[in-house]
């Protein structure tokens, strides 16, 4: 009988160009996504060595990190402007397709890949961005790389990779009402820590994962890197296939059905063995809020901020103390008592149509709290247009949210969307590191629904009680 295999092993084996003992494998790359921040030095390297892009047809570029989300034609920051212009010139010179700032396909690279159907099960996908793990939601092996590797992939369409260990994160049971994919991944990182996935590729399995929409699966896989794993994926199933049907870069008709069968056969075999496995019960999970300066520092919305003295050892105590100080929080206070000044709904974690739709349902009929500035930044131009067709923009605008153009925006604040020093933001993004949203800015990661509710209340609140609380 054939040995049962995980999807990770199946994809790996199909992409080995060269292997030998004591060396990493040379792996073929099916899709290389490129953006303006991590590519200029790679193209420059090609130019200096008189090299070309081996497969421009397997390469796709966009502008997302730097782009302004208002007044698209006025890029005030000269350095940002140069970086965008450099990408345009590089793409022209090397023949790489580009969705630039004015292109209808423009958007966050991890939103447009799936949207265009470039992301497909079984593909190896890389990008000079750690959140490339997002594409794993489709059963692709997708991971972030550095600029030297970007140059390597441009020149050779391959990458040297040590075969990763496999880790099964099994989520049993069902998520409760009001508990989202974002809460699930935050709870996983909160429970197992920010480095439990280092050296592994994660496969997420179990009932709660199967029940997720593709948008939810992307949110989960997106934050694999926050658990230390370069890649996280989910075996393809009917949900995957129905999402991809009709997308621009997938075939239609019989060719699609045939492809769909191939995709399904990639799913991890019954009885396949992982190097490691952890489990979590979905029923246990409440809406989450991060209180500290890494994504593992998160608590259920009903809990209090930790007290340093509760930590197991001196180093952990020191870490909690430093995080509390940076965040301007007192150990022991209820997270729901913490007032916020900013709300950001966006980023490659939570800026898809489904995210905006769910957040708008919370917002509908309410007003943003007078002390709060709230912005919604759709993940792509296409998400923005679709949301406008559904009137989602009107709901947000009537409530007092700003409705912006697509980009990474306040997730990393490389453009003008910055949280000022000492101010606090409820953010649907993926990192609450010091200074991430602006020097001295304080970030709390939450789901889109939790962010929407916080915008209205002016502090964190349990979205599950939101209706009842506001009607009283």
């Amino acid at each position: 009988m054939r040995t049962p295999k995980t999807i990770i092993e199946k994809i790996w084996e199909k992409h080995i160009v060269h292997e030998e003992a004591e060396k990493p494998d040379l792996l073929y790359i099916d899709l290389h996504l490129v953006h303006e921040v991590t590519s200029p030095q790679a193209f420059e390297g090609l130019r200096m060595n008189k090299r070309t892009v081996r497969r421009p047809d397997l390469t796709f570029a966009t502008m997302d990190h730097n782009v302004p989300t208002i007044h698209r034609n006025v890029i005030k920051d000269e350095v940002s402007k140069t970086q965008m212009e450099t990408l345009k010139k590089n793409c022209e010179e090397f023949g790489v397709p580009l969705a630039d700032i004015h292109h209808p396909d423009q958007g966050i690279v991890h939103v447009i890949g799936p949207e265009l159907g470039l992301t497909q099960p079984g593909k190896t996908i890389v990008c000079g961005d750690s959140h490339t793990s997002t594409h794993g939601a489709f059963g692709a092996l997708a991971f972030g790389i550095g600029t030297s590797e970007v140059e390597h992939v441009l020149a050779t369409q391959t990458i040297w990779q040590q075969k990763p260990k496999t880790l099964n994160v099994k989520v049993n049971g069902k998520l409760g009402t009001g508990v989202t994919a974002k809460d699930l991944i935050l709870a996983i990182i909160g429970k197992f820590g920010v480095k439990f996935g280092t050296g592994y590729v994660i496969e997420y399995t179990g009932e709660a994962i199967r029940d997720l929409t593709m948008e939810g699966r992307m949110t989960v896989c997106n934050m694999s890197i926050e658990a230390g794993a370069r890649a996280g994926l989910i075996s393809p199933d009917d949900t995957t296939i129905e999402f991809l049907r009709g997308k621009r870069h997938v075939p239609d008709g019989e060719a699609f059905d045939q492809l769909a069968e191939e995709w399904k056969s990639l799913a991890t075999d019954e009885g396949a063995v992982y190097d490691e496995q952890v489990e979590i019960d979905a029923e246990e999970i409440e809406p989450q809020v991060t209180w500290g300066t890494n994504p593992g520092m998160c608590i259920p919305v009903s809990a209090n901020v930790p007290v340093p003295e509760d930590a197991a050892n001196e180093n952990d105590q020191e870490e909690i103390k430093r995080a509390l100080e940076y965040m301007g929080l007192q150990g022991g206070e209820a997270i729901t008592s913490v007032p916020i000044e900013h709300v950001f709904i966006g980023s490659c974690t939570n800026s898809r149509l489904a995210d905006l739709k769910l957040a708008s349902e919370i917002v509908k009929g309410h007003k943003v709290h007078p002390n709060v500035r709230a912005i919604v930044v759709p993940g792509s131009h296409s998400v923005k247009t679709q949301a406008e067709e559904l009137g989602i923009d009107v709901i947000f605008k009537e409530a007092g949210f700003e409705w912006r153009d697509a980009g990474c925006s306040m997730c990393l604040a490389m453009n003008d969307d910055i949280v000022p020093e000492g101010e606090r933001c409820a953010s649907t993004s993926n990192r609450n590191f010091e200074g991430r949203q602006g020097t001295g800015a304080r970030t709390h990661l939450v789901s889109p629904e939790m962010a929407a509710a916080a915008a209205i209340k002016g502090h964190f609140t349990d979205v599950r009680q939101f209706g009842a609380v506001t009607s009283s």
Binding site: G128, S130, E151, G228
Partner: protein
């Protein structure tokens, strides 16, 4: 890249775990299009206050660490963003070796592409080095050929690094030129799949 075989240098201790690449180099400095000149921005938000003045309370600013070339830090060093600007900044500042109990995968890989040697020692060994370097000017020798770290006071530890990365670092080789030796195999692979 510059080869690294044996390196002796002054140790800078950074006793923090989970140092992310946003701390190593904040995003406002990622807009440059060259690889050079990032050293001035390393640990920017820790080294400088909001007015751009040096913060005396941050240890790297102390004169005794001025000529440091070896960074010793807590676990999960370099987590977060894939930005290669982080190793570029560390290297441009003068660091040739990093020692930590563990690293984030992408950062670790990025170091080896830029002639920075990332050494993994045990938590206890790292804590010893940190204590020594906090107490006094402390020098270490890191020998990649022997895969050993030692001082002249009796500390000695071994580390491991995969054979391929070690060979690349020892020789200062550029990955792409190595891979292009396999161009025929890449072409065959493409043909077989077409």
């Amino acid at each position: 890249m510059e080869p690294i075989r044996k390196h002796e240098g002054l140790v800078y201790p950074l006793n923090r775990a989970n140092v992310d690449t946003d701390q190593i180099i904040p995003k406002q400095f990622l807009k440059r299009i060259s690889r050079q000149g990032f050293g001035q921005f390393v640990f920017y938000n820790w080294r400088f206050d909001s007015k751009g003045e040096l913060r005396e309370d941050f240890s790297l600013n102390q004169p005794k660490y001025e000529d440091t070339t070896i960074l010793v830090a807590g676990e999960n060093f370099g987590c977060g963003s894939s930005r290669e600007h982080a190793p570029w900044a560390l290297q441009d500042y003068g660091f040739r070796v990093i020692i930590a109990p563990s690293y984030a995968d992408i950062f670790y890989n990025n170091c080896t592409k830029n002639g920075i040697l990332p050494v993994k020692l045990t938590e206890a060994e790292v804590q010893t080095l940190i204590k020594n370097a906090e107490a006094d000017k402390y020098y270490l020798t890191v020998d990649l050929e022997e895969k050993k770290v030692y001082d002249n006071q009796g500390f000695e530890a071994s580390f491991d690094l995969d054979a391929y990365k070690r060979e690349m670092l020892l020789n200062g080789w550029d990955d792409i030129s190595v891979t292009l030796n396999y161009a025929d195999q890449i072409a065959e692979f493409e043909k077989a799949r077409a």
